[in-house]
């Protein structure tokens, strides 16, 4: 990533921090706006090292604010729909007198360079039907699934794995379709 991209990402952090300040302070006098600008500048300055999450093999920086914002928001809106479906399913399982569960541990590998992609996928798996991310180690996911159906939904072999495809598309990562 060139210096220009780093500058744009720092500007994004600055704007986000400033918007947060204005939202929380609810005051629009010049004095408070200036204080907010100063605080956001200091925050941006402090976080410029932390935001470099890792580097690709060719030395490019992976920046913590370098994601497609609108695609990301669209993805989260889709995910909220999935969360509602997941919760209704979980409610049916929990309120069923027979308690039809078959807990199991599922392991799969998904190599992705961007740590943000791993974060998004782990979060999404926890929030969607009957699966909780237990651990992510070097692209290897250990998932606890509540029922058989929800475990099967993670594998490409069953023509499923929608979340994994969507997250990989979001961050332009290439995934191998034949893993497990």
């Amino acid at each position: 990533m060139s210096n220009g991209r780093v500058l744009i990402n720092n500007l994004k952090i600055f704007l986000a921090l400033f918007a947060f300040w204005v939202l929380l302070s609810e005051k629009f006098e010049v004095k408070f706006i200036l204080m907010g600008l100063g605080a956001s500048l200091i925050g941006t300055f402090i976080s410029r090292e932390i935001m470099i999450l890792s580097r690709r093999e060719n030395g490019d920086i992976i920046h913590g604010f370098d994601f497609p914002v609108f695609k990301y928001i669209k993805y989260w809106i889709w995910l909220v729909g999935q969360i509602i479906i997941a919760n209704i399913q979980i409610a049916f399982v929990i309120l069923n007198p027979k308690l039809p569960i078959n807990p199991q541990i599922v392991v799969f590998k998904q190599k992705m360079d961007n740590p943000l992609a791993h974060l998004s996928l782990g979060n999404s798996i926890t929030l969607t039907p009957g699966t909780v991310t237990v651990d992510i180690d070097n692209g290897e996911y250990i998932i606890h699934a509540l029922t058989d159906d929800t475990a099967a939904a993670l594998y490409f072999a069953n023509n499923q794995g929608d979340i994994r495809k969507k997250v990989a598309d979001l961050f332009d990562e290439k995934i191998e379709k034949d893993d497990l």
Binding site: L23, L24, E26, W76, V80, I83, I84, A86, N87, I90, A91, I94, L95, L99, I101, N102, P103, Q104, I105, G122, N123, T126, L127, G130, V132, T133, V134, D135, I142, H144, L146
Partner: protein, 100 residues
Amino acid sequence: MVNYIAIIFILFGFFFVSVAAIGVLRLPDFYTRMHASGKSETLGVMLTLIGFVIYNGFNLVSLKMMLVSAFILLGNPIGTHAISRAAFYSGLEPWRKKDN
């Protein structure tokens, strides 16, 4: 009219938080209980906050409440993940069905 929509949202939120509580009591072991508390609670709290936003109308306070629900959406799965990971590494065996 707006009040009725807000009440419906808050009631649904109440329902999902209750389901989370019932799930924590009914499910057999730690990992399965994480399912109940991690998911149903997120949606329950979010629906309740959306109900509050609708009741309050659109102003800065409701914008703050939407921000709170966004942070819950981002933060709750991370908490679930951290606790279940800690349990996994301290060697807690997941509960399995007896017949297999």
